[in-house]
Structures are given as C-alpha cells and as structure tokens.
Symmetry: D4
Subunit: 158 residues, 8 copies
C-alpha cells in the first residue's frame, strides 16, 4: 500500500460527517490519505507532533476541519511549512462564521489555505492540485474531472 | 519584590498599546504582573511552555491579548487549568470581530474568559477579582475602586 | 451539606435546558452550587440583592445565562466584585449574537467573563478554575479531567 | 420654570456630544428636560432610583443613551412603566451594533423604544410625540416642524 | 364599544401570527385596538391615508409589523406625528436583521420606536405605556402587570 | 434640449457627492437626466407624485440613492412600474449595510434593481443598459465603453 | 412560438426550485423565456458564450440565480451590455448573505441589478419592467397586476 | 533569468499597494514571479487566457487579489487546475467582508485557497509552501524563515 500523501485531521469525531467528502474526493483521484482526530485544545501536544513530523512522513498537505473558535488549522500550520488547508465547520450557533474567521484571518507568517464553510470536498481537490503541481498524472486526472463536471452541467440543459 | 500573580501575554509587540491598560490596572491594585510577547503561531513552543509552567511559578491567572484569528488565549488555555482571560484586539479589517469569535467561541472543555474587544483594563480587573476570591485585601480594594467610580459618575451631575 | 460555592442564575426558566450542563459539570468536580431564576428586567431588585450578598454567603463565582439583550451577567457584575461568568443564550432570532454582544462588550470598570454562546459547561469549568486558584484539590481534579479528555480524543484514532 | 417632562440620561460623560441633539430638539419644541449621567453598571442604585421616581416627579418619558453592552435603557425600563427611549451609541469597535442589539432586543414584558444608532434627535422627537398624544399644542408644533422639513427638502430642488 | 386607541398594521397576512401577541397584550390591559393589513409597497395610498387620519380618528399610537426591507413603520411615521412603533418581523433569509435595520435606522426627523425582532407583545406594552402617560388607570394596570411578572419569576425559585 | 430619460433622486442633499457619478456616467453616454432631492420620509407626497408621473413624462428609469433605513427606492418603486434602481449610501454608522438591506430585500411584487453600496456610476450604466434594450445607439456606446475599459486594464500591464 | 425575451440562468440544478417563480411570473405576463443551467465556475466558456450572444438572439434581459460565492450574474454581465439581474440564492451556511455580497458589490463598470435573497419572482418582474420601457402592452399588464395586488391586500381587511 | 513560478494577478491597479507584500515575500525566498492586472469583469477573456495557459508556461500557483464582489480568484480557478490563492481586498464599504465571502465560499469542484483580508504576504508564503512540497530548497528556506520569526518574537522579551 502506498504512503499517504494527505492527512485529514478533525478536531472532534462530531466533525466526521462534514469531513467525509474530503476522503472520498481523494479516493476518486487515487490519492492515499490518513484520517486523524486531534484537537488543538484537548490534545495540543499530539496535534503539534502530528504537524511537526508530517513532511518527514511523506505528507504533501494537511487538511484540518474544525468548528467554533476553530484553531486546529492554524495550530498545525504553526508547526509545519507544508501547506495546511482549513475547513471551517458550521457546528455552532454562528453557522460557521466563527470558524471561518478563526481559520482564515491568520497573521502574517503562518498562512492557512481556507476553503468554504463545510467545504471538505474542495479541501481535498486543493490538496490534489498541490500534489498535481509536481505530479502530471494527478494534474491530468483533475483536468478530466473538470471536463466531466462541465459535461454534467451541460447535460442538464438537454 | 513580590512574585508576579498575573501574566500578561500578547501575540505581537503591535498589541502593546492596547494591552497597556491591563498592566496599569493591576498596578493600581498593587498586584504584581509580568508581561510577555508570545505568539500562538510564531512561537508555539514558548507559548505552550509559558502556560504549562504558569501555576508552579505562582501565577493565578493569565491575560492573553491577540487580534485577527486570535488563537493565543485558547492555545494557552489548552496547556493550563489556571483561568485564562482573553482580550480580542481590534487590529484587523474586521475591527476585532474575528478576534472576538476566535477567542470566545471555545469548544467544551477548554474555557477562555473573554472580555470586550480591546478591553484590557477589564481583563486586569477580572484577574484581580479572581485573586480576590481568596485574598480579602484585594477584594476590599476592588470594592473601594467601585465606590470611587460611582462617586465620579455622580459628581458629573453636579 | 457543604455551602454552595457557585451560583448559577438564569434569566428565565426557558434557559434551563441550556444552563443544565453548568450544574452537571460542577457536580462532576464535586463543587456545590445553587440555581436561581432571576431576571435583570423583571426582578431587578432580587437580582441586585442576590449579587450584593453573594460574597458574604460564601460564593466564589456567579454564572449568569441569558438571551436576547442579555443584561443579566452585567447587572449582577454591577453589584459584586466576585467574578461573574456570562453565558450568552441562543434563544432569539439573532442566534445568540445579540446575547454575545450584550454580555461581552462591557464598559471599563465592570468585567464579565464571557464564554461561548450556549457554553454553560465551560462557564462551570471556568468557575472551577477560579476556585482552583486557591484550592489545589480542585485544580488537581481539573488536571485529571483534562488528561481524561485527551485520552478520549486519542482513543478515537484507534 | 416649568417641571421637566423628559429625562435625558447617558451612561458616561463621553456620550454627551452624541446626546446633545436630544436636548436641542426638545428646546426647539419648548419641552423642558433634565440631563443626567447615570450608569447601569457603575451607579446601578442611582439609575434604579432615577427611573423608579420618574413618574411621580412628573416625567412623561426617559431617553437613555449608552454604547457597547448598552444596558442603560433596559435597566431604567425595568424600574418604571413610563416609556423609555433607547439611543444606541456608536462608541465601540463594533460601531454601535453591540449597543443596538443590547438596547432593542429586550425580552417580553419590558419594552425599550429604540431609535437609530446615535439617533438622539429622533429620540427627542419621539418623546415629544408621546407628550403630544395628550397635549395638542405639542402635536401642533410637531406638525409645523414636519411641514418646515418638507419645505426645506423641496427648496433644495430650486 | 369604545373607540380604538391603538392601530395594529401589518404588511402582509403572513405576519398575522407574529403580530397576534400585540392584540392579546392590549386586550389584557383593556385597551381597544384595530387591526389592518396595509402594505407600504403594494397599497401605499391606503397606508398613507391610514396614518394621516389616525390622530383625528382617536388613535394614540400605531404599531407596524413588517419583514424584509420593512418600510411600513417608516412609511406610516412619514404621514403622522403620532408615535409609530415598529416590529421587525423575522420572515426572510436574514432572520429579521434586514427588517430591524430597515425599521430602526430612520433618518433625523422621522422617528420609529423600534422593539425587538418579532417583539409584538412589547410593541403593545409600549403603546400602553404611551397611553399611560396621560391615563393613570392604564399606568396602574401596567404596574400591576409588572408586579405579577416579578412574582412569577420568583415563584420559579420555590 | 432633449427630454430627460433618467431621473436621479436622492433622499438628502448630503447624498449629492455620492450620487454625482451617476449624472456624470449618463452624460458620458449622451443620456439626458434630471436630478431631484426627494425624501421618502420628509416629502412622501412629492416623492410619490414624482414616481407616479415618471412614465408619462418620458422617463425610462429612476435611480434612487439613500442611506440608513433607505426606503426611497422602494417608495418610488411602489408608485411606478418603471424600473427603479437603488443605490444604498454608506452614510450611517453601519457603513451602508443598513441601506443595502433596506433597498435590496424588497417583498415579492415590487422589485428594486439594487447596485453596490455607493455604486452610483453602476446605477447609471444599468439605466443606460435598460435604455439600450430598445435603442441600438446607446447599446453600441455601452459596448464601446466596455472595450475601452478593457484596453485601459490591459494597458496597465505594459 | 415567439422568441424568448428573457433568459433565466442558474448555476446548478439545485437552484431550480428557488428560480421557478421567475419563469412563472414571466408566464403570467405573457413574456417568453428560456431556462439554462450554466455555471460560472464549472462551465465558464458556455456561460460566457451564452451572455455574449444574448442580444443577437433577441434577449432583452438575463436573470441569473446562484448561491455561495455567487459569481454567475457578474460573469454574465462581464460579457454583455444587456441588463443582467442577479438573484442571490440562500443555499449556503451563510443563508444567502455570501451570495448577496458576491452579486451586488460589483465594481464600477459592470453593473448587476440585484434583487432580494431568493427573490426570483421580483427578478422576473424587473425583467418585465425593462421590456415595458419600450413595450406599452407589457407596461399596461404590469400596472394591472399592481392594481390586482392592491385589491388583494385591501380585501384582507374585510 | 529563471521562469516565473508564481503569477500575482490583481483586479485593478488600485489593489497594487495591498498586493505588493506578495511580490516582496516571494523575492525574499528567491522565487521568481510575474505580476498582472487582469479583471474578471472588465477583461474576462484575458483573465481566462492567463489561467488557461498558466501551467504550460511553468507556473505552479496563481495569487489573485480583488475587492468588493471579488470574482477574480474564482474566475481564474475555473480555468486551471493549478492551485489558485485568493486575497480578499478591503477596498469597499464592507471592509473586505464582501471580498472574503466572494472568494472563499466557492462551490464544490472549484476550490480557491483563501487567505486573510489583505493577506498578500501569506498568499506568497502559501505559494512557496506549495512549491516547497516538491522543492526541498524552498522548504528549507521556509523553515529558516520560521525560525527567524520565532527568534524575533522571543527577542522582544529581552
């Protein structure tokens, strides 16, 4: 079995349903991933360790999904210079607006690549795009997927 | 010189002006404090270490001020069970709303005692109230301060 | 039976379900509490009296939960220098955003330690942390609870 | 000199400039008013006393201006069944949105008649309209003022 | 049968359920009211006529409930110097925030006394308070109602 | 001189600076316009009359700019079936968000074509596009203008 | 069969239910329309082509409905000088606020005539108003429809 | 001279000052970039062409900065499967909130890696991180930069 290239991390098992499309999208593209539950607040050491060792374990990108005061993506990004992709999860009374701000408004020096609220599928596609910058086969599969999406939309007009 | 009882931590030297009233308010009440610049994202290890050793060094509360995706208070709170008081700083385009959400919307298990945007003075008063739960002299000084505030307001009517 | 150390006050019986986790969290930690329904607007005198006598009755912290133009925590804080912890309740059309602003944006002089919208459990943990600043047994229990939380998160990865 | 019919209360002397147009508008209409600085949080007893005795002292309406977690109008309204008119003041980082929510989102039973952020002039006109329901002379002056406003707008087209 | 003293106007029959508590609250206080469906946009002439003749028909206040770009209260207020009380209705995707802004943010010269989103009951109590400024019997009934509310809250503690 | 085809209406002379680009854009395209100051609240009859007679006077579209609880566009739209274009003006503490909601969130039956906050130039271009649906010369001028805009952007790359 | 005068475009088949009232409203007024599913992001070429050829195919206006980062109306507007009417769809966690901002806040030069969130019916009425500027029969039908709406509202009072 | 690896695109020359730090950050890291002014709305063809040919011209990532209804990043992302990084620019009355929503809330299938409002420097660091996934020298320089950032923060404590 191939080494995972993408790590999918979520702050709580209650985020699993929202994050599921990320794993599915990577599987569609034939990209190996690993899934972890790690909390920036309840398991800060384990989260820090996960990010700090991510590059040497062969990961090319980390996807982090969390809700409320969503620090997870930023906490991982603070420990690695791999691209970290943040998925704000709409699990609180503020419908994910809190998670969006807490994920995207990172200070200069530590970027998080933020996607839409509950946008786990796009997080995976972005990870694949990152891998595709150095792997023409992945880039080609992404291009095919785009063409197929376009065909489906146009088919709805017939 | 007495041991500091309160740590004032800020994510960046650019927050110093906003956080200054916290140190002043503690000085008014005769409570020793220490001031640190520690970033949840740029110095995550130092921030974690600071919080993890806070109780054994004699601190009773930590005040953390940060702007944007303000993770600092939450990151410190993840490493200690001392009360952590968060001051959202209005340094971004969103006027502190991002910092407020990122500070107050903590998940169950890891509370942050959040005060108003740029509310550094109230953070210090809250720290003093916490100390005052076990130190009648501090409680008495807080009560005197309240009475003095009331007198000033009423004097404005004369 | 021990004296209550924490008062849990809510503005309306309709907030009881949201505030229930506060009482439960204190019970888990072996901290005695009392529960009151007192409204800043409908019973202002009783609310004022409750806060004004809280310290002499042995309380160390007051937790106040209210929705809409949530004045309860601020109204209690105006009458005591004990720490007052505010829980904004998401009972209105604005999903608790009104209660959050009305609770956290206190003017200089009268702090309210605000937790997340509907964050009653964290309010109780914060009260316990405050008590723990002078009671090592409570602090130790909080540390154990943290370790247990971390174990549960990590167990989800196995 | 006539008894004041309207009380203008502000939470802080720093709100005086915003509240000034209320006094001016009442003067234009020949309605006597009194101005007080009273804080819901720093002088809760004086504020409560002011409202509780307002009707017997001859007031017909109270105008309350405050910023941030603006509890003043609600705190006064809790102590009187005279109409209380709230002016949210834009003095905080949130540009008055916090004060608006804290003033207008009152729970059932205790209304506050809220006007626009910094809308002190309209607060006075509303107080005059309330007096005008029983005082035809005031109502007539309000009607004249309206006609004059319309003339001024139309004159801008010439 | 007595003349109605309060007009309750709503922009659409779909607002009837939200506005119902206004009529009920006035009935509890023995204040006669009339209910109309009039739209600022679909029946602007009828709405203008209603407001313009309100005082001469004996009304003391008008309550106007509307959702979305809620112009109704302002449109009525533009045609009368009677107090107009606006109820923002939460019928749109924006949960009443649009209606709140469209109702409360009136320009200088034309006030609308705005209550909480969906706050029809408080609109009625405010109308009663206005009537009570000149009618001691109504004022007395409001005071009794307040005392009864307080008793109910306190009874919840037994 | 040709008949005006577009009416530019603003709620207050203080909006003139924001609305100026609308007149300029129409002049660039050789479309005659007229400018009026008319308030939905201070001159409701004149505003109603203006809209009701707009079509018979030869207008093809009305542009309405207003701030705060911006009812002007909706009030005009209620009196004509000509297209009414609303420009929310950022003149209040809420930076035009109130005006945006009050302009765009119109109920079914009475549309307002809303452009960006302070977007007076685009309002004029939209009016020209409407005229262009039946006037090929105007459509051609709009196409030329577009081509010129593109040239200017591309020129910035040289 | 007559040529369509209005194109209704939606970004996804999932928007069909929200956009349905646009087609119905045009049918009521006897205005021919065509319906397309075209995505600014998944079929950018087809969307561009659709708009670029719209005028020569006889369209007088395009209605575009999309949710989330709703670029569709703007993308079409970038390729034609026909009026483009945008309908922000409330399909995301942000309840259409994202779609509203992404549709209405167009930069100078490329207007989009934006209607309310989910306001498909009003989009159609606006398209009819545009056609009615040059087609008196359509204008007359719109006037009749208005009169009928007013009658229905007034009938609710009987 | 080396081929550019990163394209920095902005919607208007008025965004140049905000986007400048992106070019500077890439220069610090020794990564070649090219800068273009291309508008999704005013030059849609040139923007589409730029993205469509980006991979074959050797780019590894595109950074797109735009304000208001910021479609630029999404429009480029629609034409390439290279990673597109969006910088919401705070140039409108809504302080960049409109640009944030319009950039981050992309529909499934077409991701945009969004950074903070005005976060051009972080956009460049993210582009460098993407390049660093396949270029160990760039990754090493990023790690050194992080260490240097930490040193600077810690030095502020001495």
């Amino acid at each position: 079995m191939a080494n995972p290239l993408v790590g999918i991390v979520m702050g709580s098992t209650s985020d699993a349903k929202i994050m599921q499309p990320a794993a599915e999208a990577l599987a569609e593209l034939g990209i190996e991933c690993e899934v972890r539950v790690l909390s920036a607040h309840r398991t800060p050491d384990a989260a820090a360790e996960y990010a700090a060792t991510a590059r040497e374990r062969g990961l090319r990108a980390i996807i982090a999904g969390a809700g409320s005061a969503a620090h997870l993506a930023g906490a991982l990004a603070a420990r690695t210079t791999l691209p970290v992709i943040g998925v704000p999860v709409s699990s609180s009374a503020l419908a994910g607006l809190d998670a969006l701000y807490a994920t995207v408004q990172m200070p200069p020096g530590i970027p998080v690549a933020t996607v839409a609220i509950d946008g786990a599928r796009n997080a995976a596609l972005l990870a694949a795009q990152i891998i595709g910058t150095a792997d023409p086969a992945v880039a080609a599969r992404l291009d095919e997927q785009r063409a197929e999406m376009a065909r489906k939309v146009l088919a709805a007009n017939e």
